[in-house]
Symmetry: C2
Subunit: 335 residues, 2 copies
DNA sequence: AATACTAATGTAAGCGTTTACAGCACTGCT
DNA sequence: AGCAGTGCTGTAAACGCTTACATTAGTATT
């Protein structure tokens, strides 16, 4: 009936005829406890189904063994994949994952408001653009932070060279003879979070000049990193009198959405239009989509490991820049 | 330099010339504290940047304001979507979300092993089949649990009628005149987690008999709820001499993967084969995929709200069965 | 004016750990 | 025999809150 209070370290100590200190040491594998005592304590703990109370450990030790994973949204393949990878690595390292959705337009901001930061040992930021006040709060908290996908002053980061990526993708297209290339960016995605998209666009623009491509403004339209966004963006792009012969989408999901839009307009890929995406989403191979792979899973894992290292050694570990590679499949061809 | 110890409730109390008890009451909005005092305390707290230490609150109050969201995997649209919805609702309700990946093949099982359960006020299970020992552990912990997608004895659940779903999808196909319908299930998905897939299959089988459809065993092949899985399953299905004229895939992602496979074999949808999926994934509209919608987002939200209610009133709230609806688009047609 | 409430605040005992320090029983050395 | 060292264990003070209970002052009731 009464959900019988679960046993505490004291119960175990009493039952095993030792002090709580010894139980604490024994159960955590610390040295200086006789093998025989340890075994006895473990046996008692098992029998009593003793589980240390995390809150009490935290309060006493100051360590929570949990890290906050902060994301602007949970929607879309990118975020869930990175998060999954980070969580897995963190679990392996003995940490729990507290997930926090901190929409940027949420003016208050979960991050600043709540006392979450006092409850975690570290923070992983996934593609989070921080307002100054949030960055400051985070910095002042003095807990290790690693950012994924975006370099943020003062924190370690795992990222790619988005500018180079934009350039490379475009130059692939240019190399195939395309002069008019449309771009679907991620501008709409997050009002305060232009950065990734902007950098890729900067790379594209550089290539545009370098290869003397058509420079019209209406060749760039905003998506939101989703298939639906890509679909709609493509429709808009195709309203142009002179249709682009190639398309660069800043994510594979948008690229596939655009592909579907193209098809709905009666266009074939790559016969009528070449498409290149970014990510190397698992479905891209099925589509035969040419893309710039960025190994999203490893981003998440690397960041977690970086954080784990910071948590242990606490001296600053540098940034990691992950390589991207062009994977040429059948969605792009010479014009 | 020294990450200057952040201020405690004691600091605030001293600065405001009141006792810690009053500060505690004031900051938590409890009654019985004079407006003037409250304002003064709030002002001091603000100035000192005081944030209560969650571990200490938890230890003292016994409530952690966090709930564990337990999933077998984080991969795939379904899980990330449900999780996102739950997290959002929980945040709104003042709870943090601890995410726990408890792969079933992980014999030990995070759930049983670690003292996670002592650190949370509630649990949301997303499509988790529990071993008996895990269910027992959970039950013994006496904390509220709600299960999504699967009814589990002893816990509240938010789910759909998977058997009916399997029947309805099949009868839609049968109604269009199809006699040979292939099925892509989710068997491979999780070795211990056949249940959802099995129930849908049972519904399908019932319809198969009811409508006198072709009954060959090789009309049912296992996918893993992903596009890639659907693609491969479709390839396998099509090795059959007498090809099915219609396909039921237990998720939209698999359906689309199958669609791509069909195309790679030179088949058109729905001319050569009709396809129906399950979920109403956002991309399904773009494809024109006929599907049984199950409003995944609302599942996550409803479950969270159910849990919130349990957390408050603690009397047993019943189960919720969410409606599913057939959405007919252009991927199915008369044979 | 004495009594009974009520509202605001304070006191202090937990909550269940961790950990610095002390203590004790040996062993081995001089 | 005395002493230092070592290995194991116990004592007790934190950790930073919440909360039952006590106290005080002020107001209303008779």
């Amino acid at each position: 009936m009464n959900p019988q209070k679960s046993s505490t370290i004291g119960d175990v100590a009493a039952e095993a005829n030792v002090s709580v200190a010894t139980v604490s040491r024994a159960l955590r594998g610390l040295p200086n406890v006789a093998e025989s005592t340890r075994r006895r304590i473990e046996e008692v703990a098992e029998r009593l189904r003793y589980q240390p109370d995390p809150s009490a450990s935290r309060l006493a030790s100051g360590k929570s063994s949990t890290v906050a994973i902060i994301v602007p949204t949970l929607e879309g393949w990118y975020f869930s994949t990175v998060m999954a990878a980070s969580t897995t690595a963190l679990t392996k390292g003995g940490y729990e994952s507290l997930i926090i959705v901190d929409a940027v337009d949420d003016s208050a901001g979960r991050l600043v408001d709540r006392s979450v930061l006092k409850g975690v040992d570290g923070v992983i930021l996934i593609n989070m653009a921080l307002s100054d006040s949030k960055r400051e709060t985070l910095q002042r908290s003095a807990i290790p932070v690693v950012s994924i996908g975006m370099k943020i002053e003062g924190f370690s980061a795992v990222s790619i060279d988005d500018v180079a990526l934009g350039f490379e993708a475009t130059s692939h297209l240019a190399g195939l003879g395309h002069k008019t290339v449309g771009v679907i960016t991620g501008l709409k995605w997050n009002p305060f979070q232009f950065e990734v998209s902007d950098r890729r666009l900067a790379g594209h623009m550089a290539a545009r000049s370098h290869f003397s491509l058509v420079k019209d403004d209406d060749l760039v339209v905003g998506g939101d990193f989703s298939m639906v966004g890509g679909y709609n963006a493509m429709l808009k792009l195709m309203e142009r009198p002179e249709r682009p012969s190639a398309l660069l989408a800043f994510s594979d999901e948008m690229a596939c959405g655009a592909w579907l839009a193209a098809r709905s307009l009666g266009l074939s890929v790559p016969e009528d239009i070449s498409i290149i995406g970014v990510d190397d989403h698992p479905m891209s191979e099925l589509w035969g989509l040419t893309t710039i792979a960025q190994n999203v899973t490893s981003h998440g894992g690397l960041a977690a490991e970086l954080l784990l290292k910071l948590l242990k050694e606490s001296d600053d570990v540098g940034d990691i820049e992950v390589e991207t590679t062009l994977i040429q499949r059948s969605s792009t061809r010479v014009v």
